[in-house]
């Protein structure tokens, strides 16, 4: 990608700007589509129809109309809010989410940044969102927002441990933190994917990763930070217009991010499931995005299936179930790798 761009124009800033913009070209339409998808899936799971009118075919333009409305809305800042933090919070949340896209290998030919610690970078930078959430809750000067923010922070920090341990399981097998390299190691038929290696430990690690990534993106059943029925909307209650849209964008961006990381680490990322069939840099993009979208769909599916967990249940799942099991997996995989090669 970089070489290709340099053959057109050899200006550093332009080349890097184009590379940096590419994920945004995916994230923005994806977020619009995902919001629409969420509403349609929600509706059909409840035997309703969902948006049907805007744009003609099954209300496909509904979210476009919504975002246009949000852009036009008045930006209301509560009188007693901490103005600076209130302004910064949505930016921090979105930056935290978008920055992580830099290390995602969209295809064998494109990755925003060739870092050899890609997995670690994604883990680290997506935790930045926690700061943004707490900032939003605190700056709103609203009890319920602060509640939501605190719950969110407690939840994300708790669930980062099983997430990291589950990722470590893959890293132990792969021996590298470079996502591009991890993907390359899974080339071939789908049984080469890491989920099916060292069965069943990596598979369990995959389940643990998926469950805890749900919690990290504040999705149901772990959506107590937002908890419409008790906290109205949690940390973003006091946000209007574009700022609210940024939170929304960040949430849906995060959904895709964790899905993409799951597919890169466990399900071969940009690799075709059928060996050489339909493989290559262009098809790679297709496989990567469709695997990611599949998990986004599963997240939506779960959201409309499961009720919200209580706070104590949430902590129970994290500390008493996911964390010990991910340790077991890590140890087992470690021993297997050392002894069995």
């Amino acid at each position: 990608m970089e070489e290709l761009l340099r053959s057109f124009f050899d200006i550093d800033i332009l080349v890097f700007a184009v590379i940096a913009i590419v994920p945004l070209l995916w994230v923005l339409p994806y977020a619009l589509f995902a919001v629409w998808l969420e509403r349609k899936v929600a509706a059909h799971m409840q035997d309703r129809l969902g948006p049907m009118r805007v744009g003609g075919w099954h209300g496909w333009a509904q979210t476009i109309a919504d975002i246009l409305k949000l852009i036009q809305k008045e930006d209301i800042v509560p009188t007693l809010a901490d103005k600076k933090l209130h302004f910064l919070a949505p930016l921090v949340v979105f930056i935290g989410s978008y920055a992580a896209f830099a290390a995602l290998p969209f295809s064998s030919a494109y990755v925003g940044s060739h870092v050899n610690v890609g997995v670690f970078y994604i883990l680290a930078v997506s935790s930045l969102a926690v700061v943004g959430l707490l900032m939003a809750g605190w700056a709103s000067n609203n009890k319920w927002s602060l509640f939501g923010a605190m719950r969110s922070v407690a939840q994300i920090i708790s669930y980062e441990i099983p997430t990291a341990l589950a990722i470590l399981c893959v890293v132990v097998i792969a021996g590298t933190l470079d996502l591009q390299e991890i993907n390359r190691m899974q080339t071939g038929w789908f049984w080469e994917w890491f989920v099916f290696k060292k069965f069943p430990f990596v598979f369990v690690a995959f389940i643990i990763f998926f469950v805890s990534s749900l919690a990290e993106t504040n999705r149901t059943p772990f959506d107590i930070p937002e908890a419409e029925s008790e906290l109205v909307a949690g940390y973003h209650t006091e946000y209007t217009g574009m700022k609210f849209a940024l939170f929304f964008l960040a949430e849906y961006g995060n959904m895709f991010l964790v899905s993409a990381v799951a597919s890169s680490l466990f399900l071969g990322g940009w690799n075709s499931p059928f060996g050489d069939f339909m493989s290559g840099p262009i098809w790679g993009v297709f496989w990567f995005l469709s695997k990611g979208m599949f998990f986004v769909f599963v997240q939506i599916w779960l959201r409309w299936t499961l009720p919200r967990l209580r706070v104590d249940q949430l902590m129970h799942v994290s500390w008493k179930v996911l964390t010990p099991w991910s340790f077991v997996c890590l140890l087992a995989i470690g021993f297997w790798t050392v002894l069995g090669g």
Binding site: V41, A43, H44, M45, Q46, D47, R48, L49, M52, W301, L302, W304, T305, L306, K320, V321
Partner: protein
């Protein structure tokens, strides 16, 4: 310890069961009716907006009397013996000009009590239920077939006829002063309240 493992197993299992149920519902036909495009079938004898077939109306005022909220206003003028107003579709002879037949549908409570008394079955409930207006005075429906000029004309004719009749009576009374004029004929009676 056994409970711990059992709980994990049950939770995974029940999540899968729930996901199966919601997934099947994804393909269940929706119960939503796309309202303005598709309308639900109204039940038989559904009561909605009133309609008056003014050609059949004989101005008997029975619907107005039956109305519990007084939303029907009828005014009539007697026709002259020379006028032929025709007959209703049920064969009754029309004897009154219906100069005003207003239904204030905003007041209407859709009880349907006005429908059964009508001798010519000209007032009835229709299937129309979408008739909201921005101005509530637009909800007063005028069913009278006569224009304002026609109403004036009819009234003037009737008044002239009454006068003529009264004059005739007076002329008839003079040669026979013993005969008492009957009270019905004395009153102008052109208007029904």
């Amino acid at each position: 310890m056994a409970k711990y493992f059992k709980d994990i197993f049950t939770s995974i299992w029940t999540v899968l069961v729930g996901m199966k149920i919601t997934f099947l519902h994804l393909f269940t036909p929706a119960v939503t009716i796309q309202y303005p495009d598709v309308k639900p079938k109204l039940p038989e004898r559904a009561r909605n907006r009133l309609y008056v077939n003014i050609d059949d109306c004989i101005g008997c005022d029975q619907c107005s009397n039956a109305c519990p909220v007084d939303c029907i206003e009828i005014e009539t003028v007697k026709s002259l013996p020379t006028d032929d107003l025709g007959t209703t579709s049920t064969g009754q002879k029309k004897r009154l000009w219906v100069t005003k037949f207003d239904i204030d549908i905003a007041k209407c409570c859709y009880c349907g009590l006005c429908v059964p008394p009508c001798p010519t079955e000209c007032i009835k409930m229709t299937e129309v239920y979408e008739f909201s207006e921005y101005d509530r005075y637009n909800l007063i429906y005028n069913f009278s077939a006569l224009t304002a000029e026609q109403v004036g004309e009819v009234r003037a004719k009737q008044a002239a006829y009454e006068k003529e009749q009264a004059a005739k009576k007076a002329a008839a009374v003079k040669p026979a002063p013993a005969a008492q004029p009957r009270p019905q004929q004395q009153s102008p009676g052109s208007k029904k309240s």
